[in-house]
Symmetry: C2
Subunit: 327 residues, 2 copies
DNA sequence: TATGGCTCTGGTATCGCTAACATCGAACCT
DNA sequence: AGGTTCGATGTTAGCGATACCAGAGCCATA
């Protein structure tokens, strides 16, 4: 920076201003500085800048997994919105392991991010403690059951699952099974299970057809269907914790030659891109994953600007998308 | 840090050592420092540390897209391997836009990452210039046609596509179409197209059945199939630039009631998880996406340790996985 | 007992930038 | 003319760590 300043015939402070707040520098000087910087290939060192200003313009995102998940949408929303403001994303995957999450938060905090976006509202106690102490903007995403560390954006998984269950029941299915998520202890998935079972119970149907699965991904749909059929051979519909599992069920039906939606109705959760593509179309819950990311970004940005002492909680809702997999 | 030092009755320098190089501090002192740090909730400020040591322990990854892609595996391999060494990932998506890539590299360089992982070997000239000037470890991934900025890990897309094409031809298909990638200008996809066409040509078949598509994702398979059929109603096999498109073709076949592999043979590229799940199984090229990420991490780490002045180029190869979508 | 080599600890000088305040003309007002 | 305001620039003092060198004990060896 000193070299650039010398070459442009100004002080280092003016160079700094020419980059950070160009409006505060006269046009002539700004141009001289830009030319000097270009000639010398100068790239401002943000590490030093961050240290001096104690603002890093980095946001950390901590997600359970990227594979086959709606978190990608959230991440994309987040990073798109943040990039516009010159922020960057520090990413960590935790594999649904609370210990990993705690380690990730600890590691990331040392870099003094301006904000941290967490997935879910269920954390190791040390995570809560560290983040409270760090005085950093925190957004918990996807789940909406507090208490929250700071801010939150998501929707009610229970309400969504309840609505989906009611739709299945309303279509006349009577022996409805539910395929759980491999990490069934995660609150988000507990809520989904509860919502579905509540819908069955209120219709006087058996809410006991629940299959726990060990397999991740599509394979979970297959093994879940197997275990549901061993519980109830007359099973006529399946609701899955995620679309990926539901697609696995559809594939298994195709393999068995079972017509969907007549032999078996199928519903998923998440409305992944593939839900609209797979024949005969998968009925699912559309969640606003991208919107969650954008909203999280907005909350953090607004907090940076100093306004907003309160800690908002945003419900972005959901929508049931009806397709051919349900009669 | 000064507070911790005071509380532990040592100098700040010793606190620094207790964290960075515990072996150089006596056990008694180390424990006092750890206790003091815990009591005060001290989290070392890596920003300051980075500035002083001019090593950031951050690696930047620049990928075209995360959705429906094999880059996820690479990213995961990269981040898993790096996390073990205490490094973190700075992520940027560019949407297959070279201008965006240049902007991303410029933005990221200011944070002085210890390494940058790029996708492909085709970049805006400014990217090459910036990275050369920055003296940072660079790994170009996936593609293996130089010249490279620094190091590279990938495989030959042409050889893979050639092998896949030969397999299709070997199974007796005679009117073979190819569905291109939406961003057909990307070198990696040019190579795939060339490999397939070379296989067709050497078998004396028409290499002209190539469909360009505009749609991303599964929809591209559907529209690609449409346009191939309008070119050749007697089409008997389709090779796709990616598995996602191939799955789109399989879905369209199911919709039309066309038996696969008899009415139409289908082959994809990438061996995504779904390829093994979708009936009747998708024949595809298995690429070692995760391995590419791990190898890229290793290269950067080794470069950090000071060894390895040379700039290695690693070919991780590929493998054809034969499944039911080809007779 | 003197010497050299260890291991452990401390002091000092940066790393490259920005916050905060100081300065200086020029423009504007009464 | 004098005072006030404002915009553009410069000066100074850190931000919170680490690199580097120096010094203090301690042991083994001759």
């Amino acid at each position: 920076m000193a070299d650039v300043a010398r070459r442009a015939g100004v002080s280092p402070m003016t160079v700094s201003r020419a980059f950070k707040t160009p409006a505060t520098v006269s046009a002539a000087v700004r141009q001289r500085v830009e030319e000097a910087a270009a000639a010398l290939g100068y790239v401002p060192n943000l590490v030093a800048g961050n240290l001096a200003s104690s603002r890093s313009r980095m946001i950390a995102a901590v997600v359970p997994t990227l594979a086959n998940s709606n978190f990608l949408g959230t991440l994309k929303g987040l990073s798109d919105r943040l990039r516009q403001e010159g922020y960057q994303l520090l990413l960590t995957e935790t594999g649904y392991d609370p210990g990993e999450e705690a380690a990730a938060v600890a590691a990331v905090l040392g870099r003094r991010p301006d904000g941290i976006v967490l997935t879910g509202a269920q954390h190791h106690p040390s995570v809560t403690a560290m983040l409270r102490a760090a005085q950093v903007a925190v957004v918990e995403t996807w789940d909406l059951h507090g208490p929250f560390i700071d801010m939150a954006v998501g929707f009610s998984h229970r309400a969504a699952a309840l609505a989906l269950g009611r739709m299945v029941v309303g279509r006349g299915y009577r022996r409805v099974g539910y395929i759980d998520f491999p990490h069934a202890g995660v609150r988000r998935f507990q809520e989904r299970r509860r919502g579905v079972r509540a819908a069955l119970r209120e219709a006087g149907l058996d809410p006991g057809l629940v299959a726990g699965v060990a397999d991740e991904g599509y394979a979970g749909g297959r093994s879940g269907l197997d275990s549901l059929l061993s519980m109830a051979g007359d099973l006529d519909a399946v609701i899955c914790a995620t679309d990926v599992q539901a697609i696995g069920v559809l594939f298994e039906c195709a393999r068995r030659g079972w017509p969907v939606p007549d032999r078996l109705g199928v519903a998923g959760f998440g409305d992944y891109e593939i839900a609209a593509e797979v024949p005969p179309g998968l009925t699912s819950v559309r969640t606003n994953g991208r919107g969650i990311g954008v909203a999280a970004a907005e909350l953090i940005l607004r907090r940076q600007e100093g306004g907003m002492a309160a800690a908002p909680v945003l419900d972005l809702g959901f929508e049931i998308v009806s397709r051919g997999s349900l009669r």
